[in-house]
């Protein structure tokens, strides 16, 4: 997320630069007008994104524990101390971070894969016109329109062991299990977490892919059908390549959102989060706010930022090279 935002001011500044190269006809105030117009945006960008980020990086190098939060400036310099603790995997803190990182990777990959697959399937299925198509499309967008907290809280009720509707249907109505399973504890917690995250996310994939599909000319499909290509072949050889630019951005955005998802574990598990649902943003929150060690939490955040920047960089490099070759 932060990767995208740091790019923004640089992009925004470009038109201004190119204009300066032109003949200098307008003296005085008007020469500064573009900068003045940009200033509020740049200023807000600095205030909302850049400065907090820099403060976060500074925090990661100081010992900002409860002894110093009332007077930040007195916090002693910790050098790389916070980072050392975070990446010392023999130590409880580092080990916890590593486990949480592993859970988050698994969670992100599965969630993105499922969301994309569902979104693609629904977008393709709703492409040919039929009666009530717009109704179904609208219905699919409900999870995206619901406030996240309300939706996740409802899932929390549904997944309770004794009173939840999931167990009521699975155990009481269908008799699939004799013993009521826990959905928010133990290993099932990851399944529940992924289910809720996919429920929340797939409609975004659906919406984006549906928009992408609109731009593929109908006659390409008709020509392919005449040549004897079946539905699967059409999808593989026409739909997928045509949606490539959409997919490139979509998958990256889905991954970054999922990886830094905080709301879902926070609302679904409350204070009693199980190890299987210990996503990294939530882990960092706990490391900062429960133990009041904001320096350590900031160091973990910076590590997370670096990791996401590397992943994004590699992703853009690899996909960019491949599209140039094609």
């Amino acid at each position: 997320m932060s990767v995208a935002t740091t790019d923004a001011p640089a992009d925004a500044a470009k038109p201004a630069r190119s204009r300066r190269a032109g003949p200098e006809r307008r003296p005085g105030l008007s020469r500064w007008l573009p900068y003045l117009l940009l200033a509020p945006a740049v200023l807000l960008e600095l205030l909302i994104h850049i400065i907090p980020m820099l403060v976060g990086i500074w925090m990661s190098f100081v010992k900002l524990t409860k002894f110093y939060i009332a007077n930040w400036s007195a916090a002693p310099w910790a050098g790389l101390g916070n980072y050392k603790v975070a990446v010392d995997f023999d130590n409880a803190v580092g080990e916890g971070l590593l486990k949480s990182f592993g859970v988050t990777i698994a969670f992100s990959l599965i969630t993105v894969a499922l969301s994309w697959t569902l979104g693609m399937a629904a977008a393709v299925a709703l492409q040919p016109p039929f009666r009530g198509r717009s109704w179904v499309r609208t219905l699919f967008l409900v999870p995206y329109a619901l406030p996240a907290y309300a939706g996740i809280l409802t899932w929390n009720f549904m997944l309770q062991r004794d009173t939840g509707i999931v167990n009521h249907i699975l155990v009481d109505n269908l008799g699939l299990a004799s013993d009521r399973p826990f959905w928010l504890l133990g290993g099932n917690a990851l399944v529940s977490l992924i289910t809720v995250a996919v429920w929340k996310l797939w409609t975004f994939a659906f919406l984006t892919l549906m928009a992408g599909l609109q731009s593929i000319p109908r006659d390409v499909y008709e020509a392919a059908a005449v040549d004897g290509a079946g539905n699967l072949r059409q999808w593989r050889n026409i739909t997928l390549p045509s949606l490539r630019p959409v997919n490139l951005v979509l998958v990256l955005v889905l991954f970054l959102w999922t990886f830094s998802d905080f709301n879902t574990p926070y609302v679904l598990f409350g204070t009693a989060q199980p190890p299987a649902g210990d996503l990294i943003t939530f882990h960092i929150y706990n490391a900062s706010f429960l133990t009041w060690n904001f320096g350590s939490g900031a160091a973990m955040s910076v590590l997370l930022l670096i990791f996401l920047m590397i992943v994004t960089g590699i992703y853009l490099f690899v996909t960019g090279r491949r599209s140039r070759r094609a």
């Binding site: 003045l36 117009l37 807000l44 007077n71 133990g186 009693a272 190890p275 009041w292």
Partner: protein, 440 residues
């Protein structure tokens, strides 16, 4: 040209507004002249009644009385327990703080370490009526031993073991005096086939869990921190104490595995009040929830949380409760001290003791939280003679979160069919100890 200058002017104005907006946050909501006249205090109250609105209803007439007596207005905000600690942290970090705040008394030493609160030194203590008016054990929770406390007791609480009289009579049982008797009684009252269990535990609440880790270890004569404030979590007394409590679900099977999802004490209290279980171990503020569910105080009895027959110590509770603190950077120090004096006054204490089901923190006060004289006497006795304060060290908050969450995880493992051995308890406590050591 005119249009252009107009646009430029608009841009400059927008800039000015955004700057003003960031500058604006400097003036806090706790303002109010320090010079007599119209003073306003901001007071953050914790949730003591049955809901945030209920707290407001109870406190408003009390605060009005204070305003009548002193001319000082009080701006009240009631904050739920899930948010209170984070709100206080944010207040400390930003300096945008209320004047007076309620804290869970177990946080006292941790909050004292932030240096954001006013120490009740000789002068400030005299201003609120002197330290001699408080129950000594209650006042001892106000901060680290040997320092001027940064908080004073407001509402006292203690754990007791509630039992359903009718269920005990029907099974021919006497109220337990030892841990073994309690487990035997609970077993007799458990019938999983009928979904009937002897006890309910808030096994998914890390704050409840850590209290029981503390009390059970105390009964074994074990402490969680040494004299230098270093964590000592892995001793035999601590491990066995934690395991004993886990075994209520694991070995003795007297608690429903679903209890692993009970993330606050109210859920187990409701099970007791609706007669799903025969026993709970809870603080005396359970009374308000029990009454709200329609159970009468004559239908249950309370005994001290029993220790094993061979226990080293008869500790039955930690010194629980709510304390009052004043933020050091208050602009209304004198008014804040007057307010603390008023809230810890015998009259105010008597008014609030009943609706908030709290024990008096004043030496000569009588408990008013229940109409059951026997229950009142039992709790008073537990609070005054069988309670031990949680570790009064700056790392106390980390002890709560690390050990409490470790117990959450172990209960979850038991509930989902796994077993937890003494070695695993020790390993979990070692991890907790490392976490505390790493950030202190």
């Amino acid at each position: 040209m005119r249009l252009r200058s107009l646009v430029a002017a608009a841009a400059v104005t927008a800039l000015g507004i955004s700057l003003a907006a960031c500058g604006g946050s400097d003036s806090g909501d706790s303002s109010g002249g320090s010079s007599g006249g119209d003073q306003t205090l901001t007071y953050w109250a914790s949730n003591q009644g049955t809901s945030l609105d209920n707290d407001k209803e109870v406190l408003t007439p009390v605060l009005q009385k204070f305003t009548q007596e002193t001319g000082i207005k009080v701006n009240l905000e009631v904050i739920g327990w899930n948010d209170l600690q984070t709100r206080i942290q944010t207040a400390i970090t930003s300096g945008q703080a209320p004047d007076v705040v309620n804290i869970g008394n177990t946080w006292a030493a941790s909050l004292q370490a932030t240096d954001a609160f006013l120490p009740f030194d000789g002068e400030a203590m005299d201003a609120i009526g002197g330290k001699d008016k408080f129950v000594p054990t209650a006042l001892a929770t106000g901060g680290k031993e040997g320092t001027d406390p940064t908080s004073v007791p407001l509402y006292g609480l203690a754990y007791g073991m509630y039992y359903n009289k009718a269920m005990f009579a029907a099974a021919g049982l006497q109220p337990p005096k030892t841990w073994e008797e309690m487990v035997a009684a609970a077993k007799k009252l458990t019938n999983p086939a009928k979904n009937q269990y002897g006890m309910a535990l808030a096994a998914g609440s890390y704050t409840e869990n850590v209290h029981f880790a503390f009390i059970n270890a105390a009964q074994n004569g074990a402490d969680w921190f040494d004299k230098d404030g270093k964590p000592t979590f892995t001793g035999d007394g601590q491990v066995q104490g934690v395991l004993r409590y886990l075994d209520l679900m694991q070995k003795d099977k007297v608690a429903n595995p679903s209890n692993a999802q009970y993330d606050n004490g109210t859920k187990s209290v409701n099970d007791f009040a609706t007669k799903k279980v025969a026993m709970i171990i809870n603080q005396n503020n359970a009374n308000s929830s029990i009454a709200a569910n329609g159970m009468k105080s004559s239908e249950y009895g309370v005994v001290p949380f029993p220790a094993p027959a061979d226990a080293a110590n008869q500790t039955a509770s930690h010194v629980a409760g709510i304390n009052l603190s004043i933020f050091k950077n208050t602009k209304n120090k004198d008014a804040a001290l007057k307010f603390v004096k008023f809230m810890t006054d015998p009259g105010t204490q008597a008014t609030l003791g009943k609706p908030f089901a709290s024990l008096p923190v004043l030496k000569d006060a009588k408990p008013v939280f229940t109409d059951n004289a026997e229950e009142a006497a039992t709790f008073q006795d537990i609070y005054n003679t069988k309670s031990k304060p949680l570790p009064l060290v700056p790392a106390e908050d980390q002890y709560e979160s690390t050990v409490g969450k470790a117990m959450n995880a172990m209960f979850a493992k038991i509930a989902t069919g796994g077993t937890v051995t003494a070695d695993e308890v020790k390993a979990a406590l070692k991890t907790a100890e490392d976490q505390v050591a790493a950030s202190s």
